[in-house]
């Protein structure tokens, strides 16, 4: 049996971590917006944000390629600022993973936000808190279980991304595949021991994270 190359798992963990930081911050903002009942066209915005859940990953990857490729305005702008394109880079892998996991994060965080009793918000307001303080000191702390669940779902989704990553970032990022691409490569090369080891490591990583996230969520719910 050949020694296992853990580089792809390490790369996937890096991509998933950065993707989760991005989706949690952006997703929390979007969830707050969607939880606001007076938002115009709320259902339409929700449907657009949730679209990656129902699109085939390759279709999502294609859209990202069109929107962020070297010929697009965004792609050219990125290249002008950072000196390299988005496509076929580490940044591209993070964006692809984030695009797929964002709706999961938004949905979980929104559920957490909407579970906060309206009377608590009313109480905070009558105690002199402006909207930003109400969000920071009442809404987000009480929605923490939803934020944690969202972060974990988003991380797990990003860790396993395949189709969109391959479309936007290619099969090698800085010379290494991500864990999912590595599994497919090794399967095609008939290296079953490598496939098994990477699959098991990815599963253990994901399940361990979800376990600790569940524990933390229960602790927060108990207060």
């Amino acid at each position: 049996m050949r020694s296992i190359d853990w580089g792809p798992l390490w790369l996937s963990l890096q991509v998933a971590t950065l993707s989760t930081i991005f989706t949690l911050t952006t997703g929390t903002g979007l969830a707050l917006l969607l939880a606001w009942r007076k938002l115009p066209a709320r259902d339409l915005i929700d449907a657009v944000i949730s679209a990656p859940l129902v699109l085939p990953p390759t279709v999502l990857g294609y859209y990202l390629l069109v929107a962020l490729g070297r010929n697009s305005a965004l792609g050219r702008g990125w290249e002008a600022v950072f000196g390299q394109p988005i496509v076929f880079t580490f940044a591209g892998a993070v964006i692809a993973a984030a695009a797929g996991s964002l709706p999961l994060v938004v949905r979980s965080v929104r559920l957490g936000i909407e579970s906060v009793e309206p009377d608590l918000l009313a109480a905070a307001r009558t105690l002199g808190a402006r909207p930003v303080r109400v969000i920071a000191t009442v809404v987000l702390p009480l929605a923490a279980p939803g934020l944690i669940a969202g972060a974990m779902l988003g991380f797990a989704r990003a860790l396993g991304d395949y189709g969109a990553t391959q479309m936007l970032a290619g099969t090698r990022i800085g010379g290494s595949p991500t864990a999912s691409i590595f599994v497919m490569d090794q399967l095609l090369a008939d290296n079953e021991d490598q496939v098994f080891a990477m699959s098991l490591a990815t599963t253990i990583t994901g399940v361990t994270l979800l376990y600790f996230a569940n524990r933390l969520t229960h602790r927060l719910r108990r207060g």
């Binding site: 009313a122 109480a123 002199g128 009480l142």
Partner: protein
Amino acid sequence: MRRGELAIDVELECPPGITCVMGPSGAGKSSILAAIAGLAVPDAGRVALGDEVWLDRARGVDVPVHDRRLAYVLQGLALFPHLTALGNVAYGMPEIAKPARRARAQALLDRVGVGHLAGRRPRTFSGGEAQRVALARALARAPRLMLLDEPFSALDRELRAQLAALVRELVAELGVPLIHVTHSVSEARLLADQVVQIERGKVVGRGVAAEILAHFVD
């Protein structure tokens, strides 16, 4: 103002002391408090405290909730479950430096008789303790008006009497008007100086408590 299908059309004038707004469930009592606090915006009307106008729809005046200096004890109390009693009371005083804020919050908890709960969270409080913490929290902003929305409805007779006495003491100390919403005649007897009766969103009676309540049985 409209709450569901019910149109609420009332004129309230609250002299110093305790005014009880009495009426059956669904009469629009809580909606009146929400409009005074700024949590609900009526279609038309005016809310003023002395010379200070908080709402005047005709002139486009609508002071935001956070700028109306009032104490509002909501029906469910709405204590913040993630904060201790001290944290709940200190919440309304962010402009004060932390040590002074904590000291003032502790003093308020002591004043309402629950200083020993300072480090505990609301889920561990009994009904009466929660009421007292909610009162202390509402007083933290040095309010110019107090609003109580059926705060004693879940308590037994003895606790109601104790808390009513405490509220009367606090109102006398602060010298501010208090509007108390209730459907309970016995609760109104414990607290009210004046009574305003409403039914289906309209005022159907008002006057000195002793006179109005003489017509009711508990």
